[in-house]
Amino acid sequence: MSESTSSAQPIIIARDVNKWYGHFHALRGINMEIMKGEVIVIFGPSGSGKSTFIRTINRLEEHQRGQIIVDGIELTHDTRNIESVRMETGMVFQQFNLFPHLTVLQNITLAPIWVRKWPKKKAEEVGMQLLERVGIPEQAHKFPGQLSGGQQQRTAIARALAMQPKIMLFDEPTSALDPEMIKEVLDVMIGLAKTGGMTMIVVTHEMGFAKAVCDRMFFFDDGLIVESGTPEEIFRNPKEDRTKLFLSQILTH
């Protein structure tokens, strides 16, 4: 995983990113550089701005001050820039957000066919390969409503991967799942991280995942990055009191 960091080529650069919801200052100057192929975990209490930040990276949320550059393209009001950034980034949501009127395979092939303009046959071949990879090829022709939560989230991961993105964003991918289904989704994500090459940003409280595969961790609180470091540094020897307190709260349970 971390071998690819040595190429030292930042794929995501955030400089002094600020965002307000009305008068609420949700992001208060976020600076971050993420190298190609890095696996990043962002964690922190609810309302700390971690989800908001990950959503500014593909412009689902607009930042009002500062600069975000993704794969050399700066996110501005220019819709062409936004569209090309979105083609390079896949996103997995807490609530899956699958398209309920389409089958699992149609969910996966929709964007390759309409955005990448692939022929249907090629898209379906790639879609089936991805379903094999996430372990549910037998569900291809069912509708999302007929699947368990874990299967739905694995479909959502396959859907995001189908666009062959350079970056994958995971916004609390296991928070809406029943405990027995969390593992099957984490296994897919760990597999993806271990294959290497994919830049992953994961907002999660699954510290097992962080210990297993991530390169760096960022602790968010009150719209700020309070602390960052390798998992070893964060778990063994957190510097900030707020980090210690938060870790003690989530690790004792």
Binding site: L60, R86, F93, N97, V115, R159
Partner: protein, 403 residues
């Protein structure tokens, strides 16, 4: 407690209730003394109403008024020598319905047989003339052949069938109106000659096929981020919804000519079609908007995150789901539109209701109201129910409320 334990130890089938015919009667009609009383009272009431009605229907009603005027009721003043064009449309309809039935409905035998029985029942009337009878029987033949093709072809014909439905309505308008003024096979028949059920149908078909896209656009417009589009849509919808259809029809027939240059005078039927379409579109827009609001925001986010454009998000993700949820409401609206076309009587058009009234105004047929109104009520009901049935089948096929 012992029973509870044994039932837990194994998986049991759900309890079923079975009773005999007599048991059913006892449970549902005579379970208590007052239910028995209510049952007898209701039976008496039904008997008291149905007996004189059936007696009138079978012995006193003079159905010759329908038989003599059947052509007027069905097609108004449409020239006799061109009536084959109306039949052509009906045969095409029979073929399309039969094909769709074979592809999608398949096992619904009873409803299909009911549809086939309708022309047969009409053909059984004694004095309708042999050509009419022949056409009715031919319709059933065409429908059966198309049904067979649909059954054999199955899924591979789905696109053909959808295409046939899309093409059907413009084609009908073209066939009925005609192409050239000269001698060719389809000379133009002026709309002033359209009447009866034919006119009712054409008003309905045009109303539905134009108000649907306009209504969807208005619904999207009302949710637009651009103030000019949003406010135009809101004003249009609110103004139209605040005015009765009769008023709109009057305005369409008297005021539209004022706004147009003096040379152009759209004919009365066209003006009625415009009025009905405008009216229906406003209501449709509000219903579709309701469907749009039911779509969770996550659907937009997922579509955007995949790189779909705004237009693609709307047409591929949002509208299919929104329209699916409002199918029952839209069908209700279309049925209402079909029946509301009878209001064109007020601007002097002779649709099914209008032609009935003009028939009844003839001295020969004074006093025949019961028969005529019963007959046209039946016609309105048959087609309304058919639309309602299609709506239910569509809901099942598209899984409304299930996925």
């Amino acid at each position: 407690m012992a029973g509870e334990l044994t039932s837990r130890s194994g998986v049991l089938p759900p309890p079923t209730e079975r009773y005999t015919w007599l048991g059913w009667v006892q449970k549902n009609l005579f379970s208590t003394w007052y239910n028995a009383l209510l049952t007898f009272f209701s039976l008496g009431l039904v008997y008291a109403i149905l007996k004189p009605f059936t007696f009138w229907l079978l012995t006193q009603a003079r159905w010759e008024v329908i038989e003599v005027n059947i052509r007027l009721l069905m097609a108004g003043q449409y020239p006799v020598e061109q009536l084959w064009r109306a039949w052509l449309c009906l045969h095409l309809l029979a073929a399309t319905v039969g094909l769709s039935w074979g592809i999608w409905v398949r096992s619904r035998r009873w409803a299909g047989i009911g549809l086939l029985l309708l022309p047969l029942a009409l053909a059984a009337f004694p004095n309708i003339g042999s050509s009419l009878r022949l056409h009715l029987l031919a319709m059933d033949g065409v429908a059966l052949i198309a049904f067979g093709i649909g059954r054999l072809g199955g899924k591979s014909l789905q696109r053909t069938a959808i295409g046939a439905w899309v093409l059907y309505f413009p084609l009908v308008l073209l066939i009925i109106r005609g192409i050239n003024s000269g001698k060719g096979p389809f000379p133009i028949v002026g709309t002033n000659l359209w009447g009866g059920l034919l006119l009712t149908f054409l008003l309905t078909v045009v109303g539905i096929s134009f108000s649907f896209p306009i209504g969807v656009l208005l619904a999207l417009g009302r949710r637009s981020r651009l103030p000019a589009i949003r406010w135009t849509s809101i004003i249009y919808i609110e103004v139209i919804r605040g005015v009765p259809l009769v008023t709109i029809l009057f305005m369409a027939s008297t005021m539209v000519p004022l706004f147009l240059p003096s040379g152009i005078r759209p004919d009365r039927v066209l003006r009625a079609m415009i009025g009905i379409t405008m009216f229906s579109a406003a209501y449709l827009a509000e219903n579709v908007r309701g469907g749009l609001q039911a779509i969770p925001h996550g659907q937009y986010e997922a579509a955007h995150a995949l790189g779909l454009s705004g237009f693609q998000t709307m047409t591929l993700i949002i509208l299919p789901q929104a329209l699916r949820t409002v199918i029952p409401v839209l069908m209700g609206l279309f049925i209402a539109l079909y029946k509301d076309t009878s209001l064109v009587v007020t601007i002097g058009l002779l649709d099914l209701l209008g032609i009935s009234r003009s028939i009844l105004a003839q001295p020969k047929f004074v006093g025949y109201q019961h028969e005529v109104f019963l007959f046209i009520s039946l016609i309105y009901w048959v087609f309304s129910y058919f639309m309602s049935y299609i709506s239910q089948r569509l809901e099942v096929a598209l899984g409304v409320g299930e996925r």
